[in-house]
């Protein structure tokens, strides 16, 4: 039976609570933490986006975070991000914990300053499952050790990486070894460098059978487990070069026949060092890098990054720019979902849908190319506006696209939704309940299919999304089929938003008037000395963003995309953090897949809609 994904009036969308008070001391979470842990607080500041940032003693991080999660008045059940910020010069490394409360609609950041002489923190993996991979990444990039972490090893860099911790300021951009040495080392790897200790033990290289980690599903009975252990299960690699892993993802599977006993994902095969490289680029030079992370829906990243920098700058973009950004966001959401539809269908055997969805994507590529010159790598935004105004005829082409898109979606749905094979392969596969989904940090259609009505466009509206009339599909069962239905319906809702935006597109200038941020027109630059100086400074140095930090998020096609920016008032970011939703989503894969068949691994992996550029960054 197909699941209904119509908006359920009994399930209210999660929205941010209104914050009338101006003084941070009156914020309920700050008050509660001050009452309980007054000696643990070092400072309370305000993020550029408006919510409070709590600086606490690093030794007390676990207590405070546990209180924030468990106290009914706080209820911060969703950990969006853990990352580090290194300012260099021997200054302590800051570790950010970005929190969101689904219950109260409240946002908060907790920051611990950890001295370089004692780079340790207590792990919070017992509080949120998301923390598992996020702490591993912070360890990999900064060298912060999390005591109590079940498996603290490198995640993005190779297991035996010897050059150091890349995101530290004393780590050179090109690495510590020469290029030929790096090539020589990468080609002389042994088994220990490629497999984790647990995998070596499972294959019989180390000790005998090791007890499985607590993250495996609890419903597997103990006696069957022992039977399987006697049957010498097989350990195989799925990926990194594989047609169905949607990129260079490597899964080490321990198989009992066709059933997966243990799944250990290895990522980092596409780790491009975006965050490090962006520290050496001017604010506008970062925009082309944002295309290459989620290359399936690039404008969402462009727009998110520009929005984050504009938040720090404190500028308000023009109304025309805002509406155009909404149009591009929704077109890119359709672009990303169409690729997901095509590749998921082809993974499960439906080749025709792949051809239909790619044909539809070509139309959006034409729109991209007409506007920016690039099909995939668009780099459409600049801080304070866009790269150019819309070309003549673009709006008509866009209108034509949104008129024809629903018929393609209907055709794909006719092929799949009531198809017995499709239903058999997707229903009741990879079920994720709502509490687990929030604890594993899932966002986007994955979270909504599990029944949690959280969409950043509705919860913390940006770009004027509260003025558009659209529904957010929420699923019931949390299986692969629900994720499929949610994404299909989301595409239809995106068409709806684009139609409204096209109807209300105002005239006016696309970029803001401030010539300290946006290049002035040549005529003015040649005319007035003031404007010429602004032009000169912008070209030679780039814009200067006032000192500050922010963590800004939007609803990207894969989930909640977070952009963390730290500026010291200069022309280049001090830290550029990209919280790709797929990184957190794929961390839930072992939980979803252990106990299922190999064919279901493909279906679940496809349904999570991951893009490796965003996972590995």
């Amino acid at each position: 039976m197909p699941t209904t994904v119509a908006p359920d009036p009994t399930r209210e969308l999660i929205r941010a609570e209104p914050r009338p008070e101006e003084d941070l001391a009156e914020h309920p979470s700050i008050q509660a933490v001050s009452a309980q842990f007054a000696d643990a607080i070092r400072d309370v500041v305000r993020d550029a986006a408006g919510y409070p940032v709590l600086w606490i003693e690093p030794s007390r991080n676990h207590e405070v975070l546990r209180f924030l999660r468990d106290d009914p008045g706080q209820g911060f059940d969703f950990l969006a991000d853990i990352t580090g910020v290194d300012l260099g010069g021997g200054v302590p490394i800051r570790v950010w914990y970005q929190l969101w409360s689904m219950r109260h609609g409240r946002q908060l950041r907790v920051v611990c300053e950890v001295p370089l002489s004692d780079l340790t923190l207590t792990t919070v993996t017992d509080l949120w499952h998301t923390a598992d991979w996020l702490e591993r990444e912070t360890f990999d990039m900064f060298g912060v050790t999390f005591e109590g972490h079940p498996d603290l090893r490198r995640i993005l860099m190779p297991e035996n990486y010897e050059e150091g911790f890349p995101l530290r300021k004393d780590f050179p951009l090109r690495g510590r070894f020469s290029r030929s040495e790096q090539v020589r080392r990468c080609l002389s790897r042994s088994l220990e460098d490629v497999y984790a200790t647990e995998e070596l033990q499972l294959a019989g290289y180390g000790d005998a059978t090791v007890p499985l980690r607590e993250l495996t599903p609890a419903e597997r009975p103990e006696d069957a487990l022992e039977n399987r252990l006697e049957g010498e299960p097989m350990l195989i690699n799925m990926g990194p070069q594989h047609p169905a892993t949607h990129g260079v993802l490597r899964l080490v599977l321990q198989l009992d026949g066709e059933r997966v006993m243990r799944c250990i994902p290895h990522i980092g095969y596409l780790h491009t060092g975006f965050e490090k490289t962006c520290e050496f680029r001017e604010w506008n030079q970062v925009v082309p890098y944002t295309d290459r992370m989620d290359y399936l829906a690039p404008m969402l990243y462009n727009i998110a990054y520009a929005g984050a920098v504009e938040t720090l700058l404190g500028v308000e973009i023009t109304e025309r720019c805002r509406v155009v950004r909404v149009i591009l966001c929704e077109l890119n959401r359709i672009l990303g979902h169409l690729l997901w539809l095509g590749t998921t269908a082809i993974d499960l055997g439906a080749f025709t849908v792949f051809l239909y969805s790619f044909k539809e994507r070509e139309k959006i590529y034409n729109l991209h190319e007409a506007y920016t010159g690039g099909r995939i790598t668009t780099s459409v935004t600049r801080v304070g506006g866009m790269m150019a105004d819309l070309p003549v005829g673009w709006l008509d082409a866009c209108r034509e696209f949104v008129e024809n898109c629903p018929s393609t979606l209907d055709e794909c749905e006719r092929l799949l939704s009531r198809n017995a094979i499709w239903m058999a392969r997707t229903q009741d596969i990879g079920i994720m309940g709502p509490e687990e989904a929030v604890s594993y940090g899932l966002t986007g259609p994955n979270l909504r299919a599990s029944g949690v009505p959280y969409d950043v466009r509705k919860a913390r509206p940006y770009l004027g999304y509260d003025q558009y009339d659209f529904d957010v599909p929420v699923g019931v069962h949390g299986d692969v089929y629900d994720r499929y239905m949610v994404r299909l319906e989301e595409m239809r809702q995106s068409v709806r938003i684009v139609e409204q935006a096209l109807a209300h597109l105002p005239d006016g200038s696309m970029n803001i008037d401030d010539y300290r941020v946006v290049l002035p027109p040549k005529s003015e630059a040649m005319g007035s000395i003031d404007t010429m100086i602004s032009h000169f400074k912008l070209v030679m140095e780039g814009i200067r963003v006032p000192a500050g930090e922010t963590w800004y998020s939007i609803e990207a096609s894969k989930g909640e995309l977070g952009i963390g920016i730290v500026s010291d008032g200069g022309t280049k970011p001090v830290r550029c953090r990209f919280r790709g939703p797929s990184f957190v989503n794929i961390g839930a894969l072992p939980y979803l897949v252990e106990g299922e068949l190999v064919a279901d691994v493909i279906a679940v992996n496809a349904s999570l809609d991951v893009v490796l550029g965003e996972i590995d960054r």
Binding site: R174, G273, R292, K359
Partner: protein, 228 residues
């Protein structure tokens, strides 16, 4: 830049078959068959892989050239298309797959990142896959359009036209060279050195290179010059 002082590896092998009109006719037939039924192995990693998929889809359709049957196992592949950036973590995988492909085999480096490291001159990206595997055709672009990739594939077909049974250009595969880099260390240093914009990317923020930046509250107010 110093001229590359490396002797190109002589990759042709003398099979001892004398060239005559029979063998040239045979060459023609064999090359025709080989180039029109290439089975590519798509080693796609990032954005270029999406353009490769678009080239395989219905609008650009490399099936016209016989290449619609993508082989994901190296055993049945003739052509490895490396589409996208390759990290040092992924490099041994790429080299192993190249080694496991049977002769005859060719390699296309698709995109700027595969050809030279692209816009990523940093600690993790291989600065050109030709340091690791021998490359026949480089397709520039970031990403190249599907037509660009097809032009590169047609160049491979031209290259195959020039092969002969007597002197196959098929890689003279030395069992000792398996798993080793394609270029010697000096050549790697030469091709991977910074050039163009990469030479400008050593400065961090203009205000503070690596100096400490305090929190907002106790930071010196840095007002922008013209702000009121």
């Amino acid at each position: 830049m110093k001229k590359l002082d490396v002797v190109p590896t002589d990759s042709s092998v003398d099979t001892g078959i004398p060239r005559s009109w029979v063998t040239t006719r045979l060459d023609y037939v064999i090359n025709w068959a080989r180039r029109n039924s290439l089975w590519p192995m798509p080693f796609g990693t990032a954005c270029c892989a999406i353009e490769m998929m678009a080239a395989a889809a219905s609008k650009y359709d490399i099936g016209r050239f016989g290449m619609e049957r993508m082989s994901f196992t190296p055993r049945q592949a003739d052509l490895m298309i490396v589409a996208g950036r390759v990290t040092y973590k992924l490099a041994p995988v790429m080299r192993r797959i190249w080694d496991q492909m049977p002769q005859p085999k060719w390699c296309v480096s698709m995109g700027a990142c595969a050809s030279s490291g692209g816009m990523f001159d940093n600690y993790t990206i291989v600065q050109g896959i030709d340091t690791i595997v021998p490359v026949d055709v480089y397709v520039p672009g970031c990403p190249p359009r599907p037509e660009g990739l097809m032009y590169g594939l047609l160049m491979i077909q031209e290259k195959i036209k020039g092969e002969s049974l007597a002197h196959p250009v098929a890689r003279a595969e030395d069992p000792e060279a398996v798993g080793r880099p394609n270029l010697p260390a000096e050549a790697i240093e030469l091709v991977a050195q910074p050039f163009g914009n990469s030479t400008q990317q050593n400065r961090v923020s203009g205000l503070s290179a690596t100096s400490a930046v305090a929190r907002e509250r106790d930071r010196i107010e840095r007002l922008m010059e013209h702000r009121e």
